[in-house]
């Protein structure tokens, strides 16, 4: 039986918000998975806190509406306990790049088989407009009225340096490509990272800016780390250069679960071994 993937909860995203595109894309991907015979009972969505995170209320699938910055450890724990589950993390740029940056780096390092979708609008929306780690230099927000005094970092470079095995960038106004990038990320065995450029209709509307600069990666060798690094550096989230979209890097390596298989022991056998331990301590 196919389920209705959208809950009856009233949607409170601003009109024109990029989150709608990500929600719709995920819904289409999930429907596709279900049609291919995958049970959606085995899918878990983990979200952080921020505008993006409301997706946990809106999608009618297993979800953990977690706390700010902590999607990844929750998702890692779920996957560690039940490797059969497909775990998708939705996090904002404030969530994944500021509050929880350490977890992002470690998720890539350990190649945990989860899919990380960053709703990167380069601003804090729910807290009404402050700069994030990917806001451009000089960004005027409520906490930086005179403009930020630090450069953004480049999350793609960071992920390349940290060991992520699938690194992609999409844009919410290019939905067919976005769907393909996320679908491939879900199918990828290992840590899949997708930085999704989205506009914030209320606090950082970059529609025109992105429209003039984004282009699709073609003839790109995603298996070559050096080539991937060069392409990832083409746009540094600050300068007004062309912005490539697509899969920057992909590699197949054993996942965290592959290296940490679950152990199972009956309750009786455990008690027996505890007893043996007591005896051996005499």
């Amino acid at each position: 039986m196919t389920r209705n993937l959208i809950t009856p909860v009233q949607n409170t995203w601003c009109p024109g918000c990029g989150n709608f595109a990500i929600q719709h894309t995920l819904k289409e991907i999930l429907s596709g998975l279900e049609n291919e015979g995958h049970s959606l009972d085995n899918v878990v969505l983990v979200s952080g806190i921020g505008c993006h995170a409301k997706i946990a209320d809106y999608l009618n699938i297993n979800s953990v509406y977690a706390i700010h910055g902590r999607t990844i450890p929750v998702a890692t724990g779920i996957k560690l306990a039940n490797p059969r589950l497909t775990v998708i993390c939705c996090a904002g740029d404030g969530d994944a790049y500021a509050e929880g940056l350490d977890h992002l780096i470690f998720a890539a390092k350990r190649n945990i088989d989860i899919t990380m979708i960053i709703h990167n609008n380069r601003v804090y929306g729910l807290t009404t407009g402050q700069y994030t780690p990917t806001s451009p230099l000089g960004f005027r927000g409520k906490s930086t009225p005179a403009g930020t005094t630090e450069y953004p970092f480049n999350p793609l470079e960071l992920m390349l340096a940290s060991g992520a095995t699938y690194i992609a960038r999409g844009y919410t106004r290019k939905m067919p490509q976005l769907a393909e990038l996320i679908r491939q990320g879900i199918m990828h065995k290992g840590f899949a990272f997708i930085d999704v450029l989205q506009i914030c209709a209320s606090f950082f509307n970059m529609t025109e800016y992105y429209g003039q600069r984004v282009y699709d990666l073609t003839d790109h060798n995603a298996g070559d780390f050096a080539v991937a690094c060069a392409k990832a550096r083409e746009w540094d989230y600050n300068r007004d250069t062309p912005i490539p979209l697509g899969v920057f890097y992909e590699q197949s390596l054993p996942t965290f679960n592959d290296r940490n298989p679950l152990r199972d022991l009956s309750a009786d056998e455990r008690i027996h071994r505890i007893h043996d331990f007591f005896e051996a301590s005499k």
Binding site: T7, D41, K54, Y65, H103, A280
Partner: protein, 551 residues
Amino acid sequence: MKEVSVIVGGKAGDGINNAGAIIAQIFNHLGYYIYIYTDYPSLIRGGHNYALIRAADIPVGTYNDHIDYLVALNQETLALHLPQCPDCTIVANADLVKSVQNGQTVSVNTILKEESAAPITANSVMIGAFAKSAGIPWEIVSEVFRLHMPKAEENSRVARRAYDQTKMTRPISAVPGPTHSLLSGNEAIGLGLVAGGLSSYIAYPMTPASTLLHFLAGNAERFGITVFHPENEIAVILMALGSAVAGARTAIGTSGGGFCLMTEGLSFAAMAEIPIVIVVSQRTGPSTGLPTYTGQSDLNFVLHAGQGEFPRFVVAPADPGEAYLWSAAAIGLSWKYQIPTFILLDKTLSEGTYSVDNNYLGNLPVSDPVLWDGDAPYKRYLDTPSGISPLAFPGGKDAIVKVNSYAHDEGGITTEEAKLVTQMTEKRRKKEAKLREELIQYPCINVRGSTGATTALLCWGSVRNACDEVAGRLGLRVIQPVVLSPFPEQQFSVACRGVKQLIAVEENATGQLASLVREYGTKVGATILKYDGRPFTPDELFVKVQGVMAP
């Protein structure tokens, strides 16, 4: 009471803990009950380390001031400990100790050279010399080496050489009694968690909880569990919560500083009703404090940590037997009530080693989680008379499990509606009421010593062991709340019946348990507090109790 205390000391890196453990096993095989205290600074090599082994013909859980034997691997051991025990018998390493007045020396280097033995066996030389000096039959030494020493043959060979060239000076006789299991508090907690159905243990290293991580990691395959050490304590608790959401019984462990980082996760666990067992082993605070020394100053922190109001279960065992039983129970209660449960202990218990008789540990009731019956739609936070919502896990057929850190409705969808927020807060409150009711069947308050005495020592955790001895000498009652939250008010008031003077004994500077019982209307007549990182000795406490006892 017949008792013997031995200090074995050397520099960090000498393997003093192992030497202490072997000497303790020798006493164990002579029929004694054992307590081992290890004292070491926060460094890897070069500082002074010592293990103090106390053996007695009745159970003991603390060390005392009197020392009978000093086994010195270096000169510093004598310099530091001799003033404390001028009449003790010495066995020293002749290579590093010039001469001793009351005892013997043996040249470790000579024996190792002649036997072509590895430097690591130096401790065994000293153990052999000690055993002979104390008149312990070689068969017992040899048996202990065989059972508990890696490379038993090589170690036994060098020990025998030292044994043969040492004279018996101060014999220690056997006492009638069986051998017991010698376990540290952290080992007992690990075993208890496994008995309680543990699937995963997740922790970041922090003394004095690290040895629990090491124990479980070293035995993960044996016990069929997953053990993982992630990037920091924030990740520790959030991973554990994810693991529990997926249905795995998960525990975490840390000390005060690490627990500070976990408090946002703790509050999340409470709101999202995710079961979690948190082991907090206290050391001397605040901040980095004394990393390798003990304290009891985090009771208030553990009782109150986390934003918002929510039920939590806190248990503070005093010895490995209690630690084993209550660790298993803590998992069961955590999963039945879907609440955070704490096992609160300290360096003394975590790293101390005690005699445990696993045949006489008794039992605590077993709690089982309430599981969803499969009748869709599933509501993760279904409001029930007990407040307990049946559990389902992602992957279960037709169970759409929606877990939420926001205020939420029964289905787990975010809400800001006043009526719903009130209802769901009360739902969580109902769980606490139900837990209180269930805990009546548990021995939440221990009453020990002379149970009818009108003067009682009030204590919690490892301090109880010193209180037991002092109460034995002075004919006092000992009241030890094992469960500290929800506070077992009714059992506590029964325990206090007939008490005229209640003396709180705690290893903190403010008397945190005393404050807690005052909240429940109990008058505490005096407090005896210690906050130098070292545990109370019975001799020291005896004098202090006499000083405050009403005439």
